[in-house]
């Protein structure tokens, strides 16, 4: 298994290089270092010399992909692309337009994001699976049909409306929780509770439907019939057989997003004023701060790939047939 993990990590490197190439092309082809220098220095006092010195200072004076002035391997390595990529691989994200260290910003803002995302994820997981099991237990009944109709309706409403409705009802009308804000420590609970509840509710429609379809696929299998024939009660069949065998497809969909929880949710955080990575990204997008967006793209891809590796590892834990 150890060898397998090493192999997967090595396999992740070309993918990350590809991710870098895409972001690099998106940013540097359209927004050349000259443009960046002009934007940074301000339109008035721009002279070619100033641009050149700014580029040299920031390390942007190298050619993009091929350096014709260098010898040997340096024709490829002494270029902007390779230098920038190497920096990212060392998780050295550089400085934002406002001259703040992106790396330390990310470290600081990761925790508020996680404070929202992790409870949402866990509560949603438990409620969705329990509800789906309940519906499978009463499959074909009025409860099942009715809940499925409700689920489609929940799915058909934009997440923005849940947030707005939640804020209006619980904060503005009933004053149960503050409308937005955040503080460190246990005091944050009153800020967190509403976004978490809204997040759970908004994802409920799609979630319950998905888990239900997984369980329904299992319930028609032969081993379930055998289990019933043995005289097991329906509840025992559900928890002992259907749930356990549904675990594999559930893991495929669920484990992969766990590392990405650090990235936070863009809309949720900006609506509720949570100083996490989601609102960080939104602010960067609105300020057109390319350095931050680039760092977040890289970070997001790394976390996703970590998620894929974790998924494979989780298979070995839950399914004895899978050997890595």
């Amino acid at each position: 298994m150890f060898a397998y993990i090493i192999r997967r990590i090595l396999y992740a490197i070309p993918i990350l290089i590809g991710v870098n190439l895409i972001t690099f092309m998106l940013f540097f082809m359209v927004n050349s270092p000259d443009d960046m220098a002009r934007a940074q220095l301000g339109a008035k006092q721009v002279t070619p010399e100033l641009i050149a010195s700014w580029k040299e200072e920031k390390g942007y004076d190298k050619p993009l992909f091929v350096n014709h002035h260098a010898e040997g391997i340096a024709t490829v390595t002494d270029t902007l692309f390779v230098q920038e990529s190497l920096k990212l691989f060392r998780f050295d994200f550089g400085f934002s337009d406002a001259n703040r260290d992106i790396g330390s910003d990310i470290k600081e803002r990761m925790w508020p994001s996680l404070a929202i995302a992790l409870p949402t994820f866990l509560i949603a997981l438990v409620t969705n699976i329990s509800l789906a099991l309940l519906l499978v237990l009463f499959r074909g009944s009025a409860l099942d049909t009715g809940m499925m109709v409700v689920a489609v309706m929940i799915m058909s409403i934009s997440g923005l409306f849940y947030i707005i409705a939640g804020q209006v009802i619980f904060s503005k009308m009933w004053h149960w929780v503050p409308i937005s804000g955040y503080e460190d420590g246990w005091g944050s609970i009153k800020f967190i509770i509403l976004p978490v509840m809204i997040g759970v509710f908004a994802g409920m429609g799609a979630g319950v439907r998905w888990y239900r379809s997984i369980f329904l696929e299992q319930i028609n299998q032969d081993y379930v019939r055998t289990a019933r024939a043995k005289g097991l009660s329906e509840l025992k069949v559900l928890f002992g057989h259907v749930l356990r065998n549904g675990m594999l497809p559930i893991l495929t969909g669920v484990v992969v997003i766990i590392p990405s929880l650090f990235m936070g949710s863009l809309i949720m955080e900006s609506f509720f004023g949570i100083p996490g990575l989601g609102s960080y990204t939104i602010d960067a997008i609105n300020a057109q701060d390319f350095a931050i967006v680039k760092a977040m793209v890289f970070l997001g891809s790394v976390l996703y790939i970590v998620g894929l590796i974790l998924t494979d590892i989780s298979y070995t834990l839950f399914d004895p047939r899978v050997k890595l």
Binding site: S158, I267, T281, I282, I285, V293, V297, G300, I305
Partner: protein, 455 residues
């Protein structure tokens, strides 16, 4: 008068042509015809499809853009001077709403403005008062008007139904009507007719009252919210369908080649989609849109009018969404092609010396059709919802463009007001909810019928 073809207009009409051609092609195959018959046997699917058709109708009306000459006296040989603004057929229908802008917010059916403003009365005393709206009828005849509107709506709806019955029947009109009405027909036409009548009544009512009132209120600068909601239909539907149209060829081409050719082609394509799909979707879209914005700012000569500018931005947004969303379908198509290409009929075709291209066209693509269709209808509602979120994040359509996302975004800023300005939110909510719900219900049905695992 001249017709202006925006980029997205061209794509929409191209899509309509493709759909018509495709409809003709599949109507030749009895199995596929039977499948579609099964899909529409469900009355929910039928009603959803009709609702979607109405949305499509508004999209198409809003996709014919005209420009009127500034002077009607332009003689031959002279270059005609055009007015600056381009209008669509939908704008022409709603001309009265376009002109009847108020000063600021007003609630639905209100006769006075939402907030008080300072006025000086005859005696020179300054006070605060609710100013009356400029373009609202003073007579208290809402009920009478509604009554006429409902009657007219029923009439229009019946007319469509009669036309449909005539088109369907060859002579025995009455018999067909009763058969459809008693739900003895193979397809649930009764549900379809009821849906048409309800929609016709609703639309006529909204339209007739929009002459005398602001049925859904006005926004911050006094624009009619009803008009904005109808204009937003095009944006939402376009993002939903054109994105798929753009990504389909790529996904099919790459997915089939990866599955069929194997070797380094497969490796390269797998690498490509793994890389793309490992970037978080919203961030990739944001990065793409940001770059696009910079590019468009650098080339102001690409567009003449603001409409063209926002249209170009919409096109780029659709392309970026297409680039980010083909990977899932491509992966599924690759797996299915791999499976099909091992089957006997493909081996047989190969043994008979059928060329690779013909094998793809005749034997593989038709067997992938259900996956493609399911993914198209599944993606549609997701994309409509995504538009709203993207516009909120600031990487959606142009802020000058009418879209539900922009409506929500503007209304959000007014949440703190008391009493709340709820009507923009409400309108965007209702228009989006109906569209997405219909699309979700139809896609459920399509999935149930077409997915071979459900047989």
């Amino acid at each position: 008068m001249s017709i202006v073809l925006l980029w997205t207009d061209i794509l929409v009409w191209l899509l309509v042509i493709v759909l018509l051609v495709w409809g003709r092609v599949i109507s030749r195959s009895p199995q596929v015809k039977k499948q579609w018959h099964t899909i529409f046997k469900s009355s929910i699917a039928m009603a959803s499809a009709i609702i979607l058709l109405f949305y499509l109708l508004f999209t198409l009306l809003d996709s014919v853009h005209l420009r009127f000459a500034a002077h009607s006296t332009a003689s031959n040989g002279q270059t005609v001077q055009y007015k600056g603004d381009t209008v669509s057929l939908l704008d022409l229908i709603f001309t009265h709403n376009l002109k009847s802008t108020e000063r600021t917010y007003s609630a639905p059916f209100a006769t006075h403005e939402y907030s008080k403003s300072v006025v000086v009365d005859d005696k020179g005393v300054t006070r605060q008062a609710y100013l009356p709206l400029k373009h609202v009828s003073r007579n208290d005849d809402l009920l009478v008007k509604s009554f006429y509107a409902v009657l007219l709506g029923i009439l229009i709806g019946s007319l469509i139904i009669v036309l449909h019955l005539f088109w369907q029947s060859s002579g025995n009109f009455r018999e067909l009507f009763w058969r459809n009405w008693k739900a003895e027909s193979t397809l649930p036409w009764r549900t379809a007719y009821l849906t048409i009548i309800i929609l016709a009544v609703l639309l006529t009512w909204l339209y007739m009252l929009s002459f005398d009132y602001h049925v859904l209120g006005t926004d911050k600068v006094g624009g009619d919210v009803l008009y904005q909601s109808f204009k937003s239909i095009r944006t939402g539907v376009l993002i939903g369908i054109l994105t798929t149209l753009i990504m389909l060829p790529v996904a099919i081409l790459l997915g089939v080649s990866a599955g069929l050719f194997g070797g380094w082609v497969d490796d390269a394509i797998q690498y490509l989609y793994t890389t793309l799909s490992s970037i978080p979707g919203v961030l990739l879209i944001a990065a793409g849109v940001l770059s696009m914005q910079v590019m468009m700012d650098a080339h102001p000569g690409w567009f003449e009018t603001t409409l063209e500018r926002s249209d170009l931005r919409l096109l780029f947004l659709i392309m970026i969404l297409g680039i980010t969303s083909w990977t899932g379908l491509c992966r599924m198509l690759r797996a299915e092609t791999l499976r099909i290409s091992q089957m006997e009929f493909v081996t047989a075709a190969k043994a008979f010396g059928v060329g690779k291209f013909m094998i793809i066209l005749r034997h593989i693509v038709p067997n992938l059709m259900h996956i493609i269709l399911i993914s198209v209808v599944l993606d549609f509602s997701g994309l409509v919802l995504a538009e709203a979120v993207l516009s909120y994040v600031g990487v959606g359509v142009d802020p000058t463009m009418y879209s539900w996302g922009n409506m929500i975004n503007q209304a959000r800023l007014e949440m703190a007001r008391d009493p709340m300005v709820w009507w923009s939110l409400f309108s965007a909510f209702v228009f989006m909810f109906i569209l997405v719900l219909a699309a979700n219900l139809l896609s459920d049905r399509v999935q149930t019928v077409l997915d071979p695992r459900n047989r």
